[in-house]
Amino acid sequence: MSSALKPADLITVTIDGREIAVPKGTNMIEAAQVLGIEIPHFCYHSKLSVVGNCRMCLVEMGLPALDPATKQPVMDPATGKPKINWVAKPTIACFTNASPGLHIRTGTPLVRECREGVMEFLLVNHPLDCPICDQAGECKLQEQATGYGRGYSRYIEQKNVKPKRTLLGPRVMLDDERCILCSRCIRFSKEIARDDVLGFIDRGSHSTLACYPGRKLENNYSVNTVDICPVGALTSTDFRFKMRVWFLKTTPSICPESSVGVNTEVWSREGVVYRITPRRNDEVNDTWMADSGRLLYKQVTADHRLREPSVDGTTVAGAEALAQAGALLKAGGVAIVGSGRSSVEEQFLTRKLADAIAAPAWLVSRVGQGDGLLISADRNPNVRGALVTGLIKTVPEAELTELAAQIAAGKIKTVVSIGEDLTAAGLGEAQLNRIAIVYLGTHANATSAGAKVVLPTLTVFEKAGTFINQQFRLQRFAPAVPGPQGAADDLVILAGLVEAAGGGALASDIDGLWTTLASEIKPLATVTYQNLPATGLLLDASDFSDLPFPEDETLHFNPKQ
């Protein structure tokens, strides 16, 4: 429900005797939710078409009785309210939309009995896999059996036997016995991923989920089917059998895969990340994310992770490395290659550093094909952050041609690279041989290998910060796990460099930094990190409206609008 609705657009419906004003057509499961009334359901999903197949959401429905002559509601003299004609048969709430005067009842004996019946039916052929099932702990069947089932079984027949391990694609495993045939995965593939690859074969209780002949569920959104599967029928090959979900803690995060800024949840235990799932944001990613983004946590423990500060390839203490870097900065002739993957806060400090030593600063663009859904053409998550903080003035390019020219002209002696591989950005041997490199980053590459000073930093999973996505939406991420011992928070290193370069002492903690950000950066004037809404905050982007951004249309984003 958008806040732009006028009261005139709203109609009143009554749920369990309580009135609520909702936009016409609101789904009754959603309307009840607003009142805190849960209508249990399996097949209904707010982002998919409604098929009404599970029958768990049956409720009693009534409409005001109309006088056949006048077409006016008939009043009940006892209550003074319109008389309600209750429909004898139960109705599914998921396919019932708010209409004027609609009444539903969710707590009657009939409704309770319907739920008990559906729960019993769903369980009669369901295996008793919970102890070995990955879904246990987040299983809708378990939850609703507890909430709405009878608690005992009347079933003494043989259960159906179905395939237990069918690989639908590289990342999704199917256990047909657990499948409750809700068709959410089928609808997702067809309607959202636009890859109509799943369907049911056979009939009745013997129906089984399958890929079309010769096809696989291998699109880059396949694991969303695992998320929305209400049971443990679909499991992620990556997460399967790794960890019981109730041991995991969740941390809200932002996927750094592209400028879409998909909202995510990072699941970790004792410093180890086990999986990443989408976090609902109806204005950004709905309830989806790409498979590729889910695997990014693996970079936390990747072999080429930078774990120790070094100078000339020799491990040193952090303070020593910082001092060496400071000396290079003070010597002048410095250029900075910032990063569209750094946070807003980091980019702000990078700009402070550039200001302190009057160094020119660039960013390296990272542009690919957008997929029209949740991966945009801009694979840097935060180019807009660099614009808003003033680190850069226009959209970046892929090649550092200007920097190369300045090096060739002998103007630049030291380059600070924030995680960028300069060789990939167009600098060749000729230039690299003429400069000293200070490298801040998380992973080794050709540039870090040749750097004078290497300062290991943190991945998005290990630190706090914000990104500004393609909509100019400021979104927050929080640390899920600690970083390696020898790595330091980018903010601490950057503030250290500013100080070493003679730029004075700056706050290096998020809250302190935000006081400065809010006072210095106009679009951020009223923002504090802690009060940022979970779904982000749209910033005033009018200053940047003329820039040639590379993004095409994706979910909830159209550059032409």
Partner: protein
């Protein structure tokens, strides 16, 4: 030879020596005269005739044909389709196939009159996969009718064009349910649609307004066009007009398909007089009067029924007139006209096991109660027949059926629940005492 008590409109030429399925034969018997007469009239007049005729659908639900045609959305600007339901899969029902096999042009003519009346330009005959000969005969008849200018472009010089296509099903009972049929015709799994909002009259085939009528219903349209709605309404009884095909199977001397004026024959007369009564030495035990989904009647039951004029009657099973309203008043239904007769040799639990196996096999599997409930009921009755019955199984069966009926996407839910509900209700003693029954019949080994 037809029984003297019969009144044959649709079956006029069925089983008639020398009558063929060819167009010349049909024309020689007055064929397509009704169509010629019809295209000379305004479409609305024909709809009016059908309304006046009181014709009720013969596919199962007995819904008024005139009302169905009136509900069609004619303002949408979308094409209107006609679908001829020739899926005839309800166990105990075998009437549409006689029409198709012996008098296909009668159906084609009925279709064309219906199309003209509703300004349909494309009609589909959805015929069950197990009727390959029927499909061939229809294709042939349509080709002949095309050549005769009764089907196709510029029909009978009127400027009106309409095509008929034959579509063969792949063999699923649920494809007879009109919205499942539509999905199947669109090339998808026959998952029935949710009504509302997907009433065929508004959002049918390809989301266009669509009329779905049974084969027999459309043949009646031909006779209504020929004789006029009022004349048709004088046949049969009030609210149950015209004739009705009844398919009698099971334990009678002369099973078969018969045609009577609706409501003018009682169940007792049908079974005893027309069908020759029970087999020697046997007595009638039960009858399913309107296709396998209708509730069973137990001989010996009494029904207190209020007549239209307010008087009360006290009927035994034999006294029930074979029409929609009387059968409904007795707690069952006229359905598809399939009368399944069981004599006292029948093991009632085994009979239900047979039906339950059918419904479990045919449930499309879309919605939970029907999908799981139908198989569960099948498993219970199969176990009982296998010799592992428990006294409480009847009550359990009934309770499972109660959890299905009224809670599903399509009426298959009721169709599969009603047999169990009625068998257990009316033969509760047999279910309770099944384990200790004196002589387990041969069915036990067959079904187990």
């Amino acid at each position: 030879m037809p029984h003297p008590a019969e009144r044959r409109l649709i079956f006029e030429h069925v089983d008639e020596p020398g009558y063929t399925t060819d167009l010349p034969c049909y024309l020689a018997h007055g064929g397509y005269e009704a169509l010629k007469k019809s295209v000379a009239r305004k479409p609305e007049e024909l709809i009016d005739e059908v309304k006046k005729s009181g014709l009720r659908g013969r596919g199962g639900a007995g819904f008024s044909c005139g009302v169905k045609w009136t509900l069609v959305d004619r303002k949408s600007g979308k094409p209107i389709y006609l679908i001829v339901n020739a899926d005839e899969s309800e166990p105990g029902t075998f009437k549409d196939r006689y029409i198709i096999h012996q008098d296909p042009h009668q159906l084609v003519e009925g279709i064309m009159i219906t199309c003209w009346a509703n300004q349909v330009r494309q009609a589909y005959i959805y015929i069950r996969g197990e009727f390959p000969r029927g499909a061939r005969l229809l294709e042939h008849a349509i080709a002949e009718a095309r050549a005769g200018n009764f089907v196709g472009p510029n029909i009978l010089g009127t400027g009106y064009s309409c095509e008929i296509y034959v579509h063969r099903g792949a063999g699923a009972y649920i494809c007879g349910e009109e919205t499942g049929l539509i999905e199947s015709l669109e090339g998808k799994r026959p998952y029935p649609r949710i009504k509302p909002p997907f009433f065929p009259a508004v959002l049918g085939l390809y989301q266009c307004p669509t009329i779905v009528n049974n084969v027999e219903t459309l043949c009646h349209v031909k006779h209504i066009a020929a004789m006029g709605g009022e004349a048709f309404a004088r046949i049969g009884t009030l609210n149950n007009t015209g004739t009705r095909l009844l398919c009698v199977s099971g334990h009678v001397q002369r099973p078969g398909t018969y045609e009577f004026e609706s409501g003018k024959i009682t169940l007792g007369r049908l079974l005893n007089e027309i069908c020759g009564g029970p087999r020697p030495g046997r007595q009638f035990k039960a009858v399913i009067p309107g296709g396998s989904s209708s509730k069973i009647l137990r001989f010996g039951e009494r029904f207190k029924v209020k007549q239209r004029d307010g008087t009360m009657v006290d009927w035994g099973v034999e006294d029930i007139p074979m029409d929609f309203d009387s059968l409904a008043a007795c707690g069952t239904m006229g359905g598809s006209g399939g009368v399944i007769v069981m004599d006292d040799s029948v093991d009632i639990v085994a009979a239900l096991a047979n039906l339950n196996a059918f419904y479990a096999h045919e449930s499309c599997g879309q919605c939970t109660p029907c999908r799981e409930g139908s198989l569960w009921m099948k498993k219970i009755t199969a176990r009982m027949v296998r010799g592992e019955a428990r006294p409480e199984d009847g009550a359990l069966l009934k309770s499972v059926a109660d959890q299905i009926a009224g809670r599903t996407i399509c009426p298959f839910g009721e169709a599969c629940a009603w047999p169990t509900q009625s068998f257990v209700q009316k033969f509760g003693d047999e279910f309770r005492n099944y384990a200790s029954r004196p002589n387990p019949g041969p069915a036990a080994t067959e079904l187990a």
